[in-house]
Symmetry: C2
DNA sequence: TGATATTATGTCAGATATGACATACAATCA
DNA sequence: TGATTGTATGTCATATCTGACATAATATCA
């Protein structure tokens, strides 16, 4: 039930997650890595919406493209952690904030 | 003085840092990004030495190669944040620990 | 409804990262 | 001294990521 919801979200977000497994079934490190990226994705979208920017506007600011922003925000596996973190920093986040986001991803991440 | 020491270390660590600038002179986001990667590099080396592993042994564990481990630990710019973080997780670090390391990189990072 | 704005998805050529390999350098020990 | 072990550095073919583009899907408003 919970598992299904989470799996659906993961799949929707582009992570081909095998049948009954969600975070479980992945190795702990993969699981953590994905949770981390999803947390950054969400943060990115929240920040953008907060600032009432469109993906296109943000893309200009980050010297990227609308489609890549969309992929970043939807947790597409083709997006690197490098890009996510650079974007965060470009949007003015500090290491301290990044640390908070990551620590928080611990809680939301499946038990 | 302090600046020179830090610049030397940065250059040694493979970041072509222009003449008198070290972290300063880089954009804040680049500066943060580099500080972050260096912090993870150091953590990685410390963990490995703590566990009395050689780079070759660690490489096997991470399914990488000795030379890439050396590059990771020396802060080579060719190493991605993805690889560093994945390695951390593979060595058993949690999001919480990662968050600590990142938060700490804030302090060591030039003011 | 249709027109317009925004976001999502697919594709691809060029850019960057990767493991692997060779080999140089450094340290330790006999 | 040389031999052995560990680390650093350079190169390269392959793999992965990137911005850009087209276009589909979805919203928003008249």
């Amino acid at each position: 039930m919970m598992d299904n919801v989470k799996r659906k979200r993961l799949e929707k977000e582009g992570w081909h997650v095998g049948s009954a497994e969600e975070f479980l079934g992945l190795s702990p490190e993969e699981s953590r890595f994905i949770a981390l990226k999803l947390a950054l994705s969400r943060w990115l979208r929240e920040r953008r919406e907060e600032q009432k920017l469109t993906q296109s506007q943000l893309a200009r600011e980050l010297r990227s493209s609308q489609s890549r922003i969309a992929k970043m925000e939807s947790g597409d596996p083709s997006v690197s952690l490098d890009l996510l973190v650079r974007s965060l920093f470009t949007l003015g986040a500090t290491q301290r904030e990044l640390a908070r986001i990551i620590a928080a991803s611990y809680r939301s991440h499946a038990a």
